[in-house]
């Protein structure tokens, strides 16, 4: 009976991870810096929730469970989509930044886009 309760806890953790992942998907569908930051926080929660599932199952010994396995596989598909999204976004943003850098500061001697530097502006009046 105790085993069933703990096993139920694992299922609850998995459901919480799935709910967080749904929220991440919703957030990323309307891209903004704030949404991206919030997604990162939620993803850390997913990481913790899945860690809990793994810890509970390891402790109690896992039984074949088609429903839980399907849930994990579904999450895996969603993570694959996220990974593809972040890989594509990283590529796009770095290409875009390179274009902005080269337009702003030209190219280095090695032919790379000039790095962006922070220039503090000082205004003196009077």
């Amino acid at each position: 009976m105790e085993h069933a309760t703990e096993y139920g806890d694992a299922a609850e953790c998995l459901q919480a991870a799935q709910a967080s992942m749904r929220q991440v998907k919703r957030l990323l569908s309307r891209p903004s810096v704030e949404a991206a930051d919030e997604s990162a926080t939620l993803l850390r929660e997913v990481e913790i929730q899945l860690g809990c599932v793994a810890a509970i199952l390891r402790q109690n010994g896992s039984q074949p469970d088609a429903r839980m396995r399907a849930g994990v596989e579904e999450l895996q598909n969603e993570v694959a989509v996220l990974a593809a999204f972040f890989a594509g976004a990283g590529k796009m943003l770095s290409g875009w930044l390179d274009a902005v850098r080269s337009r702003r500061g030209g190219y280095t001697e090695r032919g790379q886009a000039a790095p962006l530097t922070l220039v503090r502006k000082l205004s003196v009046e009077g």
Partner: protein, 476 residues
Amino acid sequence: MGNLYSILNSAAQSLQAFEQAIDVTQNNVTNANSPGYADQVPQLISQDYQSDTGINTGGVQEVTQDTRSTYADTAVQQQLSLQGMYQQLQTTLTPLQNVFDVSSDSAIPSALNALFQSFSQWSTQPSNANYQSAVIDAAQQTASAFQQAAVQLGQIQTAVTSNIQSTVTQINQDAAAIQSYNQQIAQSPQPNAGLSAQLENTLENLSSLANIQVLPGNGGTVTVLLGGQTALVEGDNVNAIQAVNDTASTAGNPGAAPTISIEDSNGNDITGEIGTGSLAGLLSVSNTFLPSLIGGGQQVGGLNTLAQGLADSVNTVLEGASTTSTPPYQAGSALFTYNAASPAGIAGSLAVSSTITGSQLAAADTGPPVVANGAALTLAGLDSSDPGPVDGQGFTAYFASLTSSVGNAVNNANTQVTAQSQLVAQAQSLQQQVSGVSLDEEAVRLVQFQSSYDAASKVVTVINDTLQSLLSIIPG
């Protein structure tokens, strides 16, 4: 007089400038939801004092500035191009899952299962006419399943070829439209936001069809390069492309579908330059993926390899066995036939020998020692023999590997389509956010996005590892 005239003239010009500024604002409001439209910002600048005439002191002149960010447009186009490719792959590859379905009720696995069961049953009573007849029936079902799969793949190949032709036609139509916009923009005395929006909309549509590079020209006109190298639209010129069947590609592989190449207006092969867009997706399916299954170019195709492997293995056993288990031994007949002259058409031509009868099925292995049902037993165990008869695998396992390659390709396309639709939304959102801001502000916003995504991306990698270990903990 000079002064009075210049004051009046200056006032008139100022009024005209403000009127134009109001028009621009009105235009922005009207086109707020028009696809491809970028806000026009009216800028009022002082005109120089002309000392020689004394005209135009302190007046203003309206200069309309397009808020479009060069790279923002490029980013949207690139993401649309990737989306176009993955959507095309998803649409084209999904029907293949009907042919390559590993479930027991799908045609080929189910026919193979029935065939090996019939061999097994026959091995229990080799002279039983009903069992012999069941073997021939099962063989006919198997041949029919292969033929049907070949027909279905042929239909998909035909549809893909037709899609390539229509995509090339769309690309040429978009190129012609862009050329027309270029002409209108060149003739327009001042920037025309409507034309610019139409041009951008057409460029985005073209991006979803193929990977293009847009080079800004004079006064808002553009040069469009296909794959970054071939000029598709250059000022007033359109270099139409065409899809060509490369018949030389099938030399030595009769019956195989030719590779399709894309040529520019001078007949140069530019297929290698088509990297993304729906055309790239179609070319990849037509020239690489389908040939790996049903043959094409120099490939025989997995389905044909399987059909030939099955026919040859079964025939070899039967022809090397005897219909009687006592002398005089009588060699058995081949069960399957196929057109060996067309390696890429073997699955489509696989059939049961029209002359074979149940009594011609040879069940006896003449040994020594002689085993009355030895050949029938060998046939019954053929699918599970080690190493297997088709590239070291059994027939069912080989078919499963084909199914797996189709399934993986479809899954990958599904994943990429979902991710890509978010990337398009992101690129479009950033396009809106950076329109009209300075390069520095654009860079700051991009760096913010980059660091936020970096943080999230690292967590995703950890989550993926955790999910992998979870799957190993939970037995299936």
